[in-house]
Amino acid sequence: MAIYVNENTRLVVSGLTGREGRFHALRNRDYGTKVVAGVTPGKGGQDVDGIPVFDTVAEAVQETGANTSMIFVPARFAADACLEAADAGVDLIVCITEGIPTHDEANLYSYLQGVDTAMIGPNCPGVISPGKANVGIMPTEITLPGRVGLVSRSGTLTYQVVHEMTQRGVGQSTCVGIGGDPFIGQFHIDVLKQFEADPETDAVVMIGEIGGDEEERAAEYIKNHMTKPVVGYIAGFEAPPGKKMGHAGAIISGSKGTAVAKAEALEAAGVKVGRNSAEVADLIASLV
């Protein structure tokens, strides 16, 4: 089963004919993901290495039964592409695009509350269920099929932790990169709920970073609702207040959103928090 993406994923890629979209969609297909369609307005009827291209997502869904959308279009078109995919009725949108205006993301978030489509991202590395499907840009060779779920705001930090887990023989059920922007579709807490319900996940690694209060909310959820063990990691103990640390969302505002507060909230919820990626991998290895 895994969560979000699996053997039943049928992927439509908005921006398939672009350089990055093509490169990663074909890599996703090579991994075994069923990439059934692409969408580029004006290029309907063409194909990319055998994958049919349509002018609209609705047409692609109708013709191919696509149930998951991956967004690879430039930032100025990406929010529109997400809305189009939601309107076409896909179950899940994975939006890789970085740099979407925040007001557009706020509108998109609001719209998605009223429909059945879930969104991962924007500004995220995507989702991989090792051995089943990869939707996004994560390097597959560092993953190992297994029973630990992972959720993270960051891309490369996720790779780092997954790499160290795999080195210790700890495999992953699904790795979810939720993205570093303030307004995203699925937050830590949404992904934790999915892992708690997933029969193929035994434990979870949750990676957070400075900014906002999502990790604190997730800690509250873990304390009250999770039966599966969770290992945590927070990046940004050395980050100064008031500076955006790369991600739009990674900023300490006044005294709010510090790494110390987040780590303490997680520990108070019974989560074992590692101080670095190696400790996190050791902790999760000792649990499973």
Binding site: P101, H103, A106, I137, F237, P240, K243, A250, A259
Partner: protein, 384 residues
Amino acid sequence: MDLLEYQGKQLLKSVDVPTPEGGHATTPDQAREVAKRIGQPVAVKAQVQVGGRGKAGGIKLAQDHDEAFSHAEAILGMDIKGLRVESVWLEPAADIVAEYYACFTLDRSNKCYLGMVSAQGGVDIEEVAAKDPEAIAKVSIDPLLGLQDYHVRALVFGAGIPAQYRGELSAVLKKLYKAFVTLDAELVEVNPLIVDGDKGMVALDAKVTLDENSSYRHPEFEALREISTTDPQERLAKEKGLNYIKLAGSVGVIGNGAGLVMSTLDVVAQAGDNAANFLDVGGGAKAELIANSLEVISGDPQVKSILINIFGGITRGEEVAQGIVDALKAVDIAQPIVVRLDGTNAVEGRKILADNPNPNLYTAETMLEAAARAVELAHGSRGA
């Protein structure tokens, strides 16, 4: 992008929010001319993107244009919290009858827009929030619905605004909201929003933060970009378009991806020193970007060693390695460099480094090992 007060006021004025008639000056002579034009007494205000200007001596009242000259002379060039005062804004001294607070911002906790009004303006709103949270009226606004009249009433009545000012404040709030949305602002804050004698309501200060991601649809943003940091490395990094933040330690850090770089700063601290900077080269960094990054960091006299931590995804190991080799040829780098490469094409990258040996270049297998080595080298030990 945080705007200066006068830039924020000009934008608010463009949506008809009442702002004082003032003038901008970059020299004391210009300040004198502005003071002559707008009348006296006049407030001379330092233009820096940071709070607490008044306490730092950056706002002074001048009785005549000669005093405006001397105040401007004193304020221009001042360092306020690491920012150099490059210009001043002059405006007629206000006759403050009442001071309010008004703002619209993005509320990431509740994933919507947030409007706030308080009758306790003119003081730090964080202090009001801490001491007397009831004094701040708040409304959550669905971005798809936009600001409705009932939101405005909730703010105005909720903050206990006296009856005679409710209508005027309501009109100002609608204009501030319009500015917030049409300008793609992350924050539009007026503190204080004053009742100025019999002149009505005026935005005496303006704090506007714009969303850089929206700059493609706002060509006007380009003219608002100001580099006012006094730190030479931050200036150089901004000019080169690098995602760089100056920090206090002695280990220069370069990495890819915000999370991994933050994590690298943390492991450097755990290894016993502190990072000298945050520098995220992002995804898909090419050799030139790596070389530029090395140039900025190695030019910092505070940096004693450099740690490059790359986990390739979109970024390819051989590009990073080539950038390091190129930089070592082009720039004279005195500090030892520790490189840790993993992920996409790391093997090819490590080979390039091995084929171009340099006594100043060290490699490490893991992130922790790399941090420990960089700290060791920063403290003068050559290690094993």
